[in-house]
């Protein structure tokens, strides 16, 4: 039995844990404020908040309920727009939206309101702006400026927030109804049962539910998102070990990781949207095996190692660059699961950069993405790990180009020679993300971008183009 709190009400249901949370909300609970726009997590009309109990307090994140399996709500607090409505008056976010003319047709509006309320409830706020919180919400009417204005008002209000008594403050200031105060105790009171562990393994569903929601709704699914043995980010002996179930947001929230990867915030900001980053896991991205999987590209350039565990407990580890074999084929046997990924902490003489170009800069799939780590010793390149996506059947680790660079000094000539090798290592095809010619062009440009970004004093665009 799945048990959770939906707004202020305790839900106990024997529904299949694989049905989508949005269907449960709309069709079973008749809460129609959560809208369906795309069923792909790409529009945000179905956004809800999911609250998790941690050390006595509940932390909330926005997620897209259309691609989230119901079972993942087990033991959590799910908040829909109805759950943040105050009796007879608008809450602070809603008031800001209404007075700024930030709602036109109204269909996307509940999703925006929920995301913005999530922003108010989020006490980490690593990406600081309200705009980031609504990065997964699409509006076709307003052009966003009015919504942005409402967001600024919210940001201003939150500056006076009493962070030690966050929930009380938000209730007092009319952001949320007062039942929120009772949620931690209510969650503690739930006696959570373990759910089914047969069938398709699903973490947070951001890929599988885009493709197979109908099928997964009817079949048995083995939900692993709440499996803590697959979670966590550990730094030990200068090696990072990251559980396969770690979400992109958790990467961002980890101080050690953030400190080690300079520019992490700006890299992750162009990877999907906040609700998807809240759900999408590293392991999920690796086994999705898309040739343009952002996290695959990211970790390839960190020269990472994968730890794989068999059902019988046996573990094996392989270099991550050997994991992807061919289009959507990878080295994972039946009854095996990705456990964690690890890499050596970047040293002071190592630099990392991530580049991604897509038709729309944010919340889009890359035309080409690439990551690059480089170590420099006495003005010579001592190590390079270089990956590039969208130019081969798999997320590509470019061996020859990387090997060529070793021992060279960083200058235009070296880069131009390496670029020629790079072109010989890739074989892009034309598709909706761009023509093959364009992708070759991007491979070149983004390769240049790595150097121009990391070594602005040594490399200039002018010298790289003729």
């Amino acid at each position: 039995m799945i048990q959770f709190i939906l707004n202020s009400k305790i839900i106990k249901t024997d529904e299949n844990s694989g049905i989508t949370l949005s269907d449960f909300i709309r069709e079973h609970q008749h809460l129609k404020g959560t809208k369906i726009g795309c069923r792909e997590g790409d529009c945000g009309a179905c956004t809800v908040l999911i609250g998790t109990l941690n050390n006595g307090t509940v932390s909330y994140q926005n997620i897209t309920s259309c691609i989230s399996p119901l079972g993942n709500a087990n033991g959590k607090h799910v908040v829909t727009v109805e759950g943040i409505n105050l009796p007879k008056k608008l809450n602070t976010v809603q008031e800001a939206m209404a007075t700024n003319f930030a709602t036109q047709c109204g269909f996307c509006t509940p999703g925006f309101v929920v995301s913005m309320t999530g922003f108010a409830l989020d006490n980490t706020k690593i990406l600081n702006s309200c705009n980031d919180a609504i990065s997964g919400n699409i509006c076709r009417c307003t052009g966003y400026k009015s919504i942005e204005k409402a967001g600024f008002e919210i940001e201003e209000k939150l500056k006076t927030q009493d962070k030690n008594h966050q929930i009380e403050w938000l209730i007092k200031e009319g952001f949320i109804p007062d039942y929120f105060e009772t949620i931690p105790d209510k969650l503690k009171g739930l006696i959570i049962e373990k759910l089914n562990s047969d069938g398709q393994i699903v973490a947070n569903g951001t890929d599988l539910y885009v493709r197979n929601a109908a099928k997964l709704s009817e079949e048995k699914v083995h939900l692993i998102a709440n499996d803590t043995s697959l979670k966590g980010i550990y730094l030990k002996n200068n090696v990072f070990t990251i559980g396969a179930n770690t979400t992109v947001t958790e990467l961002l929230e980890n101080e050690d990781f953030r400190n080690n990867i300079t520019g992490l915030k700006s890299f992750l900001k162009i990877i999907s949207s906040e609700p998807i980053r809240n759900m999408g896991t590293l392991g999920g991205n690796f086994v999705n095996a898309s040739p343009i999987g952002d996290m695959s590209i990211f970790f390839l350039a960190l020269n990472a190692t994968l730890l794989i565990q068999h059902k019988n407990g046996k573990e094996r580890s392989i270099p991550f660059q050997e994991f992807h074999k061919d289009y959507k084929k990878y080295d994972l046997q039946k009854d095996e699961i990705l456990k964690s990924i690890s890499f050596s902490k970047l040293k002071n003489n190592s630099f990392f950069n991530f580049e991604k170009v897509s038709k729309r800069t944010h919340l889009d799939i890359a035309s080409v993405n690439t990551a690059f780590s480089i170590s420099v010793k006495e003005n010579l390149i001592s190590a390079v790990h270089f990956s590039i996506g969208g130019v081969a059947a798999i997320p590509k680790y470019v061996h020859k180009t990387a090997a060529f660079l070793i021992g060279k000094t960083i200058n235009s000539e070296t880069i131009l020679q390496a670029e020629e090798i790079l072109q010989s290592e890739i074989s892009p095809i034309s598709d909706v993300r761009g023509t093959a010619t364009y992708k070759r062009m991007l491979a070149k440009q983004l390769f240049f971008a790595h150097f121009i970004t990391l070594f602005p004093n040594q490399v200039a665009l002018k010298k790289l183009i003729h």
Binding site: K32, G33, K35, I36, G37, C38, R39, E40, C43, A45, T80, V81, E82, N85, Q94, A98, T99, F101, T103, Q104, C105, G106, F107, C108, T109, P110, S135, I138, C139, R140, C141, T142, G143, Y144, K145, S146, V210, A214, E218, E355, V357, K359, R360, T361, H362, D364, I365, S367, D431, V432, T437, M441, Q445, L446, F448, I452, A460, L461, K462, I465
Partner: protein, 750 residues
């Protein structure tokens, strides 16, 4: 006044079709559509699908009791394909089942054999093969041939603008319920309730009075639900006619994108002639409209392309021709701007080409040719109350254009990797349905005996806040507080024979009808009040829920007056009909006065291009817009911003693509991108032009829905300028959208 729906919108309490709780015996519909773009249907096997537990019945053209025909302008489109299919996604059958999941499974069990026929996907190919929807149309003014001979410079070129998916957040859908005696009630997400009613009656073979269409509101329309909301409602209605049970049909996003038409792609060519003083003396253009497989609204859209082919410029010699080319794409349809944007993109391209060749700033040519009072449009209308120059110069002055241009120059000099571009985009957009007979509307107003008021019109609320405007009009004239007023759903039994909510004209047409109805009611109530207050009728005024005698507030409240009027058996209901005066158009001569008025404006756009990556950001768009006397500046500014960003999407990232086989490739939100919050300009400033407004507009507040979309065209030319700034070898092209791919290719073109 805020959008009157905002309270329920932000609380998630506003009702859309999909939110209605259905009757317990309601069934779910799902369309089975063609998996090929063109061919003869050899056989379709439904047996496995029909045998599936939970499938109620599968409907095809054989179940049509009336006419299997949904074409509006031209009867060339069957509801369900009979022997041939003409586009990928063409409806063939309609599955009705207990649940959506069962219907989907059933659909997967249908097998079809199609003998494929050659397909056409581009307008150019259609023209070569002589495949047209109807005869071409031409608008002519003066004599271009001689004019070109007298020009100092003549330039020719080609342009292409791609289609655009509406991407209303709420997909198409309906809920249809049987009533007594074979009547049917359709709740539809449509901009054209009468169209749904008319076509349903035709297909079902019953009279219109047996069909009631109700529209609560739309989760966005943008033209996509003007004609193309109809087939789904009619399919469900056919099923209801046979089954006598309610049927609901909400399209999922993929089906919606695959089966519905979009903004028309245009392939065009132009020839522009100028004299040394930069006056455009002659302009010729040939527009090839990719209409898709059936007429839909294409002929009317083609016509509007001609109406706007010279944008806000006066050109004395014009020859423009448009071909509606029949291809094997889904029938393309109305989309905000309705052919106008495609026309304006061509004249702006022609000017850009001339400016590039003459090595001068594009704005110099634009400025030298702006419309003036009493200039003649190519279709014979004489321009009146022209604001082209006023908006242009006021934008230049208020936003300090010269300073902006200088800043861009300095920036470009100092930066190697980033380049900025700046452009001006003036607009002139005609307001009225160009089909004169559609320019009318009705309003029905009931004052209830407790003083509360219900207002019904033919206006459909789809986010443009037309209901708020209707309420403002009624409130203003009746002098009562907003809480006494309710704007009813749009329902064909209360307001009949409506034109669709389109052409930016909904508030004007319906608002004028509301105004008339309110005035008639006030006239009757004035008599009652005068008698009660022992005053003469001229002195009676209605304000703030009280009756005033001259400026003096009397003791008589609105509610008390209504109670008395009821006792005196005065009619408290009124129906009014408004038809736009003056307008006319003679299609045999292609001349007339089709528009009630024009809307003007000028936008200044600045963009920054990242010359390593080929991506760009829109820094700011600064607009002086002719709202007339806006009756709600908050709402109207929202329309400007929303339309602008939609136009920017069309010009930058929204890229429709079909495979060679005619299959839509950009078929989901992950493959078709519309602007998100970060692709919206960093700032949008909109300053209302100071003007007296126009009498033909409701409360002198001009139509605002479509015109600002065309400000988005400015972004194309700003990006183009930045690319050229980085790469002087770049040969300017006019091929929208200007995607990052085209930018990077342009930046590094040899």
């Amino acid at each position: 006044m805020k959008n009157i729906d905002s309270f329920t919108h932000v609380r998630g309490e506003s009702l859309f079709v999909d939110d209605l709780i259905c009757r317990q015996d309601a069934l779910i519909g799902l369309c089975f559509d063609s998996p090929k773009a063109h061919g003869k249907i050899i056989s379709v096997d439904y047996t496995k699908a029909e045998a599936l537990e939970g499938v109620e019945r599968i409907f095809t053209y054989k179940d049509v009791l009336g006419e299997n025909q949904i074409g509006g302008i031209i009867p060339d489109e069957p509801l369900w394909a009979e022997n041939e299919v003409h586009f990928w996604g063409q409806p063939i059958a309609f599955i009705v089942a207990k649940t959506d999941a069962i219907a989907k499974k059933a659909r997967a069990l249908i097998t079809i054999e199609i003998e494929e026929l050659p397909i056409i996907t581009t307008a150019k190919e259609a023209k070569e093969k002589g495949s047209f929807i109807n005869a071409p149309r031409s608008f002519n003014l003066g004599e271009t041939a001689t004019a070109f001979a007298n020009c100092d410079f003549v330039f020719e070129g080609e342009t292409f603008s791609n289609g655009q998916e509406h991407l209303y957040l709420e997909t198409q859908g309906c809920y249809v319920v049987p009533q007594e005696n074979g009547s049917i009630k359709i709740t539809s997400s449509t901009q054209g309730p009468t169209q749904v009613q008319k076509i349903a009656a035709r297909v079902l073979g019953i009279s219109m009075h047996k069909i009631e269409v109700d529209v609560i509101r739309l989760g966005g329309g943008f033209g996509g639900k003007e004609d193309q909301a109809t087939p789904w409602a009619v399919m469900a209605a056919v099923a209801v006619q046979h089954l006598n049970k309610p049927v609901k049909y909400m399209l999922n996003r993929h089906d919606d994108m695959r089966m519905t038409g979009k903004r028309h792609p245009y392939a065009s060519s132009f020839k522009i002639g100028l004299t040394k003083d930069l006056k455009i003396k002659a302009f010729e253009a040939e527009f090839l409209q990719n209409s898709g497989a059936a007429a839909d609204l294409s002929p009317a859209i083609a016509e509007r392309t001609l109406f706007h082919a010279t944008n806000s410029y006066f050109i004395p010699n014009v020859k423009t021709t448009v071909y509606s080319c029949k291809t094997n794409l889904p029938p393309n349809t109305a989309f905000r701007g309705f052919g106008g944007p495609q026309g304006m993109f061509v004249i702006e391209s022609a000017i850009a080409k001339a400016a590039d060749a003459l090595a001068i700033d594009k704005s110099k040519i634009q400025e030298a040719n702006l419309l003036e009072e009493n200039n003649e449009f190519s279709y014979g209308q004489i321009a009146k109350e022209v604001q082209a120059k006023k908006t242009w110069f006021s934008a230049k002055e208020k936003f300090e254009l010269e300073k902006l241009q200088k800043e861009v120059k300095v920036f470009n000099k100092e930066n190697q990797v980033y380049k900025k571009g700046i452009s001006l985009m003036p607009i002139a957009f005609g307001i009225s349905f160009t089909n004169t007979s559609m320019n009318h509307a009705r309003a029905l107003i009931h004052i209830y005996q407790d003083g509360s008021v219900g207002v019904s019109t033919g206006a459909v609320e789809m986010g443009q806040s037309v209901n708020t405007k209707m309420l403002q009009v009624a409130q203003d004239i009746l002098g009562i507080s907003a809480n006494k007023l309710k704007i009813e759903t749009t329902n064909t039994t209360r307001v009949a024979n409506t034109s669709p909510s389109a052409a930016s004209s909904t508030a004007d047409l319906n608002g004028k009808a509301v105004e008339m109805a309110c005035n008639s009611l006030i006239k009757r109530l004035t008599k009652v009040a005068a008698k009660m207050l022992l005053s003469s009728e001229e002195k009676i005024h209605f304000k703030k829920d009280f009756i005033f005698v001259e400026r003096e507030k009397s003791e008589l409240t609105w509610n008390a007056l209504i109670a008395q009027a009821m006792l005196e058996r005065v009619s408290l209901s009124e129906n009014a009909h408004y038809a736009t005066p003056i307008i006319n158009f003679d299609k045999t001569k292609e001349k007339g006065h089709p528009f009630a008025y024009h809307v003007y404006g000028t936008a200044i756009t600045t963009v920054t291009v990242d010359c390593i990556r080929g991506i760009y950001e829109i820094e700011n768009v600064k607009i002086v817009h002719d709202f007339g006397k806006s009756m709600n500046i908050g709402i109207d500014t929202g329309q400007v911003e929303g339309a602008l960003v939609q136009g920017i999407g069309w010009m930058t990232m929204e890229e429709i693509s079909y495979s060679e086989e005619g299959k839509l490739l950009s078929n989901s939100l992950s493959t078709y991108k519309i602007p998100d919050i970060f692709s919206s300009p960093k700032t949008i400033e909109t300053i209302p032009l100071e003007t007296d407004g126009n009498e033909m507009a409701i409360r002198k507040s001009k139509a605002v829905g479509e015109p600002p979309l065309m400000y988005g065209i400015g972004v194309y030319f700003a990006i183009q300028q930045a690319v050229k700034e980085f790469n002087p070898n770049y040969k300017i092209k006019f091929h929208a959208p200007f995607t990052p791919e085209k930018v990077v290719m342009g930046l590094y073109e040899k």
